[in-house]
């Protein structure tokens, strides 16, 4: 079984880039670590020019925050650190809005719960707008090959 998993792991693309029209997730390096020990995951995002994502802490309760979660069956999430959001004033907003724009990264710390060659799955929930319209909220899967021992 382990050999079969190892073959799958080798055949797995070195990265999986989840993407849609405006947001791309840059290649993620395969993970390696020991069960119960902390490992770091850097999730790099590239947002198309002219668009913004609500930050993880938007000021307006109706706005949909940026969220990143990891499969709780596979890892224990110790922390998810977002960069400092920008306060931007848009044509449609009376007050500056807390947003992320351009290229930025989210730093996660997790502890593997299991051992073996696996694919760690994360879910990124976001909602993007430009200066005069908004796209529906989306949740996309992030898949990273991992060798946990």
């Amino acid at each position: 079984m382990r050999n079969y998993s190892a073959v799958l792991f080798c055949l797995f693309p070195l990265y999986l880039a989840a993407q849609n029209d405006v947001l791309k997730i840059a290649p993620a390096a395969p993970l390696a670590g020991k069960r119960g020990e902390s490992i770091q995951i850097k999730t790099s995002l590239q947002l198309q020019g002219g668009y913004h994502l609500n930050s993880n802490k938007p000021d307006d309760p109706y706005l949909i925050p940026l969220r990143l979660t990891w499969d709780a069956n596979t890892v224990e999430t110790v922390s998810v650190q977002f960069p400092e959001p920008r306060k931007e004033k848009y044509e449609f907003s009376e007050k500056p809005v807390s947003v992320f724009t351009g290229d930025f990264a989210i730093a996660s710390t997790v502890k593997p719960k299991t051992a073996g060659f696996i694919v760690l799955t994360g879910k990124l929930r976001y909602q993007a707008c430009n200066h005069n319209s908004c796209l529906p909220p989306k949740t996309i899967d992030i898949k990273i090959p991992a060798d946990f021992r």
């Binding site: 848009y90 449609f92 907003s93 005069n132 319209s133 908004c134 796209l135 529906p136 909220p137």
Partner: protein, 182 residues
């Protein structure tokens, strides 16, 4: 005499030339297609069909509570509903929130929305071309045909011009709304 003739020509040109926004937005009657007839529920659970509004000019607005630009338009639509209702005009809001009324009811109550609100679904959105971004609004004429489409936030004047044209020029000027009219 020469100047009088020039003046007359300019006046005539002014009379036959519609404002830019109107020419750009409202289609000629011969180019309008029937608006898809949806069936959605309002806040009271009553089924509402577009065909119920035949004979009226309808502003059909797809929006969501999480959409910042959509919030700018809502006070305009409240005003349009109030001022033009008696002239055969209605606004229909179609909220695309996944949480449905749980999100929409408190939002519209806080803003005292005076027009009919419906909860949208994917099927209705697909009928209207997918509605990939919000706000997206359609101006529907008295015969139930799509006369104009606006994707994204446009100015209040564009809507006013559309409505005026579709109501047959029977719209009185609306005083500007504070904090948003462009």
């Amino acid at each position: 005499m020469r100047y009088a003739l020039l003046f007359a020509v300019l006046c005539l040109a002014g009379c036959v030339t519609a404002p830019e926004s109107v020419r750009a937005a409202v289609k000629a009657e011969t180019k309008r297609n029937p608006a898809p007839n949806f069936s959605l529920k309002d806040a009271d659970g009553k089924v509402v069909k577009l065909s119920d509004y035949k004979g009226k000019v309808v502003l059909l607005n797809f929006w969501a509570t999480w959409c910042g630009p959509c919030k700018i338009e809502i006070p305009w639509f409240i005003e349009f509903e109030q001022n033009y209702r008696d002239k055969g005009f209605a606004v229909l809001g179609v909220a695309m929130d996944e949480e449905g009324w749980a999100a929409v009811k408190p939002f519209v109550a806080a803003r005292k929305v005076n027009y009919r609100m419906l909860i949208g679904d994917d099927m209705t959105a697909q009928m209207y071309g997918g509605v990939d971004s919000l706000p997206t609004s359609f101006l529907i004429d008295r015969e139930g045909r799509t006369a104009a489409t606006h994707i994204g936030l446009v100015s209040k004047k564009v809507y006013q011009d559309d409505i005026a044209q579709l109501l047959g020029g029977s719209v009185l000027p609306v005083p500007p709304v504070s904090g948003g009219a462009k």
